[in-house]
């Protein structure tokens, strides 16, 4: 069974390596981190500092090799694929590249975020939920557009809608503003912050975009795979 606790994520003694044999290289060194529910935490650091690796380890996108990651009370070290799949459904992920499916319309892409919960008889309800979510991110008039016909900012907003549509416990965003201009980037992050506050969602965001920092509750900085500062506001 999946459990609930006060902390959304608890990381203890996390180490991680890439490669194998002679080329094996440690990327994460003894990371401890506890993220409270309902907060917006930003993971900062130069490229290669391991911030994305930490995010993917916390988000069940990578197997934990050493140490402990408790996600919503569930230990990820040695967890089964079944547990991973169930936990991923409680997360909303937003990636650096929007990763929308080019063959699906905005509405269909967002629908994928609800359909994963798998009730098969709710066709119209799903469509409505998807359209409503798109309205919330300001794309109410673009629901039936294919991603190819949307701008970069619009696509990233579709991705936000897809991540939020099933009311996830935690939203994880990996450089959501990297591919966007200043204004679209700020829009997307403000949107995440606002929708997160309303829903009580925990948000963890990886970025090296300084403009975003004002919106964060907490800024954790990594360098060379270790935490070098942890600043609360």
């Amino acid at each position: 069974m999946l459990k609930n606790t006060e902390s959304a994520i608890v990381v203890q003694g996390l180490n991680h390596w890439f490669g194998s044999g002679e080329a094996k290289k440690q990327a994460i060194f003894d990371v401890h981190l506890e993220i409270e529910k309902g907060s917006l935490t930003v993971l900062m650091g130069p490229s290669g500092s391991g911030k994305t690796t930490v995010l993917t380890l916390m988000g069940c996108l990578r197997d934990v090799q050493e140490g402990s990651v408790k996600l919503l009370g569930n230990e990820l070290n040695g967890s089964s694929e079944q547990t991973n799949v169930a936990l991923r459904r409680r997360l909303g992920f937003i990636f650096q590249a929007h990763n929308l499916h080019e063959s699906l319309t905005a509405r269909q892409n967002v629908r994928m975020g609800v359909e994963v919960h798998g009730r098969k008889d709710r066709d119209d309800a799903y469509d409505q939920a998807a359209a409503h979510m798109l309205t919330l991110v300001g794309l109410g008039d673009r629901v039936d557009y294919l991603p190819g016909n949307l701008s970069g900012g619009q696509k990233q907003r579709v991705a936000v809608a897809r991540a939020l549509v099933s009311n996830p416990d935690i939203v994880m965003a990996d450089e959501p503003t990297a591919a966007l201009d200043k204004e679209s980037g700020m829009n997307v992050v403000e949107l995440l912050k606002r929708l997160g506050q309303v829903r009580g969602t925990t948000t963890v965001m990886v970025t090296h975009d300084n403009r975003i920092l004002d919106l964060a509750d907490r800024i954790v900085t990594l360098e060379d795979g270790a935490i070098v500062s942890d600043e609360r506001r």
């Binding site: 993917t56 988000g59 996108l61 990578r62 197997d63 694929e81 799949v85 169930a86 936990l87 991923r88 459904r89 409680r90 997360l91 992920f93 990636f95 590249a97 990763n99 929308l100 499916h101 080019e102 063959s103 699906l104 269909q108 629908r111 994928m112 975020g113 359909e115 994963v116 798998g118 098969k120 066709d123 294919l146 897809r162």
Partner: protein, 389 residues
């Protein structure tokens, strides 16, 4: 279509949407599947045609049991059977009657080419050993040097053959003798002869002077009404020497077909062709699906990160496989049907697209597509989502 599919499979038809999004690739994929289906269907068609002509060769006769020499692997192969065994066979319980059957090929030479005919020489007292349709027309062959000709003979003008009747016979030369064709019957072209000729045993012995009346090629028997030919075959095997092949006519036909399919080069080549077609089809479909999975790896990784499990991905690829199988099957069958018609016109061999074969090939296509799809998703299932972006 999308709505219908969504209802049908209980989720958004991602595979279908993915396929129709890229029309060019879809067309190429469908052409690939259709090509594989044509390969398999044409090979099956030719081998089916061979089997049909083998069976048709036996259907010229109305008999229950056939006694042949032990090396008679096909109806035209092997040594003779001494007529004395006919007399022994007639003494066996359950045998109603019997006759000798003479078989040999003969060239019918005309100015515009040769036609190879398989001549059946039959005792004029036992015309009931011919298939009923042939027997009905066989009266005239009681006269010397009179014959019935196969109306389906390859290389012959059908209208010319259709004009033949006892009132307007066709006079031809066969083996240096003048022979009168008094009528025609519907036989079949085969791989070894262009057509069939039915004559009396006396005419046969005149056309083939090296043959003797005491040694026909086969002995045909009819059993008493209500007696199982299989039981009679058992009794005959006890009564007659081991070096004779004693089989029901069906067993003889099946044995012939089996021999030609498994031991003759022609049959092996067709079987090999079918296997090649299936392999080529598997490779084509695997390539299409594997490329498609590779091209959508980013999207699939996102879905995996969102909590979709391996069942979902297999479902999407399976959905694509089914769509490709259906879309490829339709043109594949139409093209094959066209090629069948063309081959039939060229060879006069009976090329028939049987519904059973078509259904089998469709299920095979579906199976091949599914297996390929399962292989194509393996990499996806094994990887961490984070490694896929």
């Amino acid at each position: 279509m999308t709505k219908v599919l969504a209802r049908l499979i209980g989720r958004m038809p991602v595979g279908w949407l993915q396929l129709v999004h890229n029309k060019g690739r879809l067309a190429a994929a469908v052409a690939g599947v259709a090509f594989a289906i044509v390969l398999v269907l044409v090979q099956l068609g030719i081998s089916g045609s061979m089997n049909r002509t083998i069976q048709a060769g036996y259907q010229l006769y109305d008999a229950d049991i056939m006694i042949s020499a032990e090396d008679a692997n096909t109806i035209t192969e092997g040594g003779n059977v001494a007529r004395q065994w006919l007399l022994h066979a007639l003494a066996v319980d359950g045998v109603a009657s019997g006759t000798g059957l003479f078989l040999a090929t003969i060239e019918w030479s005309e100015l515009d080419g040769d036609t190879t005919l398989l001549a059946s020489g039959i005792d004029i007292q036992r015309l009931d050993y011919l298939a009923p349709a042939i027997e009905a027309a066989a009266g005239p062959i009681r006269l010397p040097d009179v014959a019935l000709l196969d109306s389906q003979s390859r290389g012959q003008d059908p209208e010319r053959l259709a004009g033949i009747s006892p009132q307007s016979p066709l006079r031809i030369e066969l083996g240096g003798r003048r022979v009168m064709i008094a009528d025609t019957f519907e036989g079949t072209t085969s791989f070894s002869a262009d057509g069939n000729l039915v004559i009396s045993d006396q005419t046969f012995l005149r056309l083939f002077p090296q043959r003797v009346s005491g040694a026909p090629d086969h002995i045909l028997l009819k059993t008493d009404p209500g007696v199982s030919p299989i039981a009679v075959v058992e009794r005959l095997r006890l009564a007659l020497p081991d070096y004779l092949r004693i089989r029901t006519l069906e067993q003889a036909a099946a044995g012939d077909q089996n021999y030609q399919n498994t031991e003759r080069p022609t049959g092996l080549i067709f079987g090999f062709g079918v296997v090649m077609g299936i392999l080529v089809g598997l490779v084509i479909v695997y390539q299409i699906l594997a490329t498609d999975v590779a091209d959508h790896m980013g999207e699939y990784a996102t879905f995996k990160a969102m909590g979709y499990g391996s069942g979902f991905f297999f479902g999407v690829v399976f959905e694509e496989a089914v769509v490709l199988a259906i879309l490829g099957f339709i043109p594949g069958v139409i093209i094959s049907w066209g090629l069948y018609t063309l081959l039939e016109a060229m060879t006069a061999l009976p090329m028939i697209l049987e519904p059973n074969t078509a259904i089998m090939v469709f299920l095979g296509t579906l199976f091949a597509c599914t297996i390929s799809g399962a292989f194509a998703t393996r990499k996806l299932n094994a990887a961490d989502p984070a490694d896929l972006f």
